[in-house]
Symmetry: C2
């Protein structure tokens, strides 16, 4: 089976998407991260949920989580305020690694996708039909296919 057949819709945001909206999409979709498309609609990187948290939790609390005890629940409110009037571009780390979101062509085979995921330790690959982003393959879907292929033989 080829990437074009294994690819599914996966929530995306752009660099210009409101950061608070991106956090809501992450929460609603119950996903560990979102695919970020650049200004030309090309896969750019993954925005992990933990990166959103890095933006809203003060760095000294990240270094010593015991300090979080000094905050009450109401503080969660003002923490999320950090996301207001910010975009995904603001929230992403300054250095985006190109291998954060592997990309394969729509005619990549399942074993090629497995090799890319394995080599880059990625739970997701974006699938391109030429220069058009068409969806993503997640590792659980690929394993389902590989295991199914095995048991059917």
């Amino acid at each position: 089976m080829l990437a074009a057949q294994l690819a599914r819709h996966y929530p995306t945001v752009t660099l210009g998407t409101d950061a608070l909206e991106a956090a809501r999409i992450l929460a609603d979709a119950r996903l560990p991260g979102l695919i970020v498309l650049d200004d030309h609609g090309q896969p750019y990187t993954v925005l992990p949920g933990s990166q959103v948290l890095r933006f809203i939790v003060p760095s000294y609390v990240q270094e010593d989580p015991a300090l979080a005890r000094a905050y009450d629940e109401a503080s969660a409110d003002s923490m999320c305020d950090e996301l207001v009037a910010r975009t995904v571009r603001d929230v992403l780390p300054k250095r985006v690694h190109l291998f954060d979101l592997p990309v394969v062509a729509s005619d990549a085979t399942s074993i090629e996708i497995a090799a890319v995921m394995a080599g880059q330790r990625s739970p997701i690959v974006a699938v391109m039909d030429g220069s058009r982003y068409v969806g993503a393959v997640v590792v659980s879907a690929l394993l389902e296919h590989l295991l199914g292929a095995g048991s059917a033989s």
Copy 2:
């Protein structure tokens, strides 16, 4: 809200779980990884789906995924054979990093959990009631809570 209230059931395997069964659980649960408990039922690490793929895809193909084109679909069958008669212990990397699976106490606050996830760039934390594993908090559930706390104020 405390970790005990935010924690949910999350699929776990043990070091002795059959590797093929672990792959099936990953596929069926549509998750990027599973929590691995040690022989004493304590959280040990996370088994990412990509690590399962690292075990079944030959390393020279991981280094050059274009070589995957030499394999046909039927080869997926024999690849998954690599998992037969192996355990999760066999499939895990030789060096397991202790921070791969952060752990918090059941009375940790939501902000403390956020600090741990942010500091360790983890999409998941295991929750312990004393020495008993009670479940996990994933980043999307934590964001849902933090955003809800914000909008309700």
